[in-house]
Symmetry: C2
Subunit: 267 residues, 2 copies
């Protein structure tokens, strides 16, 4: 039986992400924030505004500790994220005093009337919590289902980023603590292809991958016009990590193997 990767599941919702009209900058921005905090991303998935696709993705999200979705929270016909959550988890949608107050105050501040369409923004799946959205009208939403915490953020980057920073990142640091990055080294090379570069470091890499399969990750990443090599050591609950002195020796060996092909090294 295939196991699930440890980490955060990012779900991006919207037709425009599938057909190349919109670059998925929400996922890459959130991914980068998590990387800088040493938290792994397990998967990025983009689905359409179709209800069945949203439901299926949210259901598979139960295999991860944290799901962060963006998009589909607006007032229009193709905003179906919370309807999907209601279906996936059997929680009817309804407004709460807190969500009504959020929506009311946001439209009041903009001196706009609270129409029926706008009031839809206050309908949350039962048991959900409002996350304050300081830059937009739709509230962010947090919902716990089993051992998974779901976050539903608006799609516009200027709305989802502040909520992510304020409400998600701090708890992700605690909740995904079973796997944390403790060391990353990058060698940037130029002048040879992937196969030749890799041959120069293969022995030492194979040794670590054999003995520390869960905590040692070595990646080869084509970064035109060169090749980047990355070594990572992760602290994963219950798995042995390579001792720091051994990692140090391996880094030295990799550096010598690459020789002048490596033009810069980043830590």
């Amino acid at each position: 039986m295939a196991t699930y990767a440890k980490g955060v599941f990012l779900l991006s919702i919207g037709d425009e992400l599938l057909d190349g009209r919109t670059q998925n900058t929400n996922a890459s921005w959130i991914g980068e924030q998590l990387r800088l905090a040493g938290i792994p991303v397990a998967e990025v998935r983009c689905v359409s505004d179709r209800l069945d696709d949203i439901v299926r993705a949210l259901e598979e999200g139960r295999n991860y500790p944290i799901v962060v979705s963006t998009g589909g929270l607006g007032p229009t016909n193709d905003d179906r994220t919370l309807e999907g959550a209601a279906l996936a988890f059997g929680r009817p949608l309804k407004a709460t005093p807190e969500s009504l107050e959020h929506v009311r105050s946001r439209y009041e501040a903009r001196k706009l009337e609270l129409t029926e369409i706008r009031l839809r923004l206050a309908n949350l799946p039962e048991g959900a919590r409002v996350l304050q959205n300081p830059t937009g009208t739709a509230p962010g939403v947090e919902l716990t289902e089993g051992s998974t915490t779901y976050f539903f953020l608006p799609g516009p980057p200027n709305e989802c980023r502040p909520i992510f920073t304020a409400d998600i990142l701090p708890m992700a640091k605690v909740k995904v603590a079973e796997k944390r990055l403790v060391r990353r080294e990058t060698w940037r090379t130029f002048g040879k292809g992937e196969g030749e570069i890799y041959a120069r470091v293969e022995k030492v890499v194979a040794h670590f991958e054999k003995h520390y399969p869960e905590t040692f990750v070595f990646g080869v990443h084509i970064a035109f016009p060169g090749i980047d090599l990355t070594l990572e050591v992760w602290d994963v609950t219950g798995h042995p990590m390579p001792p720091p002195a051994e990692v140090e020796a391996a880094c030295k060996e990799i550096g010598e193997g690459l020789g002048p092909l490596c033009f810069t090294r980043e830590r």
Copy 2:
């Protein structure tokens, strides 16, 4: 039981896509090519280089007519796409005369020695077909499993794009013909928020969504600093389409509802 969207499943493989180091331009470029050809994308999924994640994604790909994966075909330790296919479909990896010839000729042209690491590129899942890769060394791979055609392309854009254009797009036009775009209209607006814009067109949209749920799609897309509305009519086998005259009348009604908020209309 949730149904699966009709269309192409795009699978992007590589750690660097999850943590924001690399924008997933392969998926957006392929998505755009498919959109311009009127072919829907059902889902975009990015997974790490972890074997279990690759296997699970390929297994779920069986619910789609075409799966296009990019990445993970190189010679290094983190290139596991074909190993994943071998596991998912129970087809051992081995070199064929065709794949050996592809790899041999590519390295010969570059005057590079055919090392053991490089020869790994010729190992394909049993029954797979080589797709010529004119700009790189790793062959593209085509594999049919049940009613699904899987395409495995190298990750570098200059390698995957020519293979996509030559070998995938023409067959996708035939194979995904059960759902084809026949009309798309876009209204670009400026000056009002999503809720207000949508209220102006809601009645006519609701009418079509009720009567043609499978073939009529209306989308609202925040495209800073404005809002884009898109109407699409799809020809889906077995489902009635709105008659052209009715669509024409609806477009007129939408245009009038938006009034001067619409600054340009695209077809």
